[in-house]
Subunit: 158 residues, 2 copies
């Protein structure tokens, strides 16, 4: 269901990187209007492929291992969101904060979430992928700035 | 000489496009702190190449034609800056506005100006080139968001 309640939503894409926390801090100090809701958006990577015992070419993940990966993913969401909310508290804005967690390719999930949330602005750090993935896929911020309809702020961490 | 006087400078790249005026309006309504200076940055295209009378393969531009091109360029600067300042007045901010005019490739001039001005943030519309040039060179905003050090806001005109 799309969010179309007229509330101004500033979406900040957060992940484990210090770049994304710096982007969040920039948003809090430069951009956030008092009547807006700040949405912390975290994208979990897609679950690892499951190979059966008989698929000799692949890796086998037992049920336990799969559950462990999922548990780690959930803990990572919690850790990033907690860190992000601590940054929000540091700015003492009394800002309304919502969490939004998606799963899949970061570029696509962010674009879809921005659309779904009717975001007023998307704020993101510059490096959401590691070096190799960025070299192969281009940066997340580059993709999002091309594909979302709302203004995009790309914040570098100097 | 670089500007390093501690003033917060928000640089907005303006051109003839309605996209850039929309980006300026977005900046005025969402971003501009009261103590910041708004710098309107316009980039004139490089002057056309001059071919001598003896260069049969090229076009010949007489002194008069060259002067005419320069005059048109100057009028264009004036027109864009006037339009941009009218947008600023509409927001009735009492904002401090400075003009900065460069000449050359828009992508390089904008990046150098942002550095030189010690800009706090760069704001730009999404389409600074025509379709063909954008297809060949990539968009100005894409280039700038990769190369400048400060946060970049890319504002789409929907």
């Amino acid at each position: 269901m799309d969010v179309v309640d007229g509330t101004k939503r500033i979406v900040v894409a957060v992940d484990e990187s210090s770049e994304s926390m710096h982007a969040l801090a920039w948003c809090l100090s430069h951009l956030l209007p008092s009547d807006a809701v700040l949405v912390l958006l975290y994208v979990k990577p897609p679950p690892p492929p499951f190979y059966s015992f008989f698929d000799a070419a692949g890796y086998m993940l037992s049920g336990d291992a799969t559950a462990e990966v999922q548990k780690l993913g959930t803990r990572m969401v919690q850790s990033v969101m907690d860190r992000a909310e601590a940054v929000c508290r540091d700015f003492n804005h009394g800002v309304s904060v919502e969490r939004f967690v998606g799963t899949g390719d970061a570029r696509e999930v962010i674009c879809k979430a921005v659309d779904k949330l009717g975001a007023d602005t998307l704020v993101m750090g510059c490096h959401g992928y590691g070096f190799m993935k960025r070299a192969l896929l281009g940066s997340v911020s580059e993709y999002c700035s091309k594909h979302v309809k709302c203004p995009v702020v790309i914040v570098k961490h100097q």
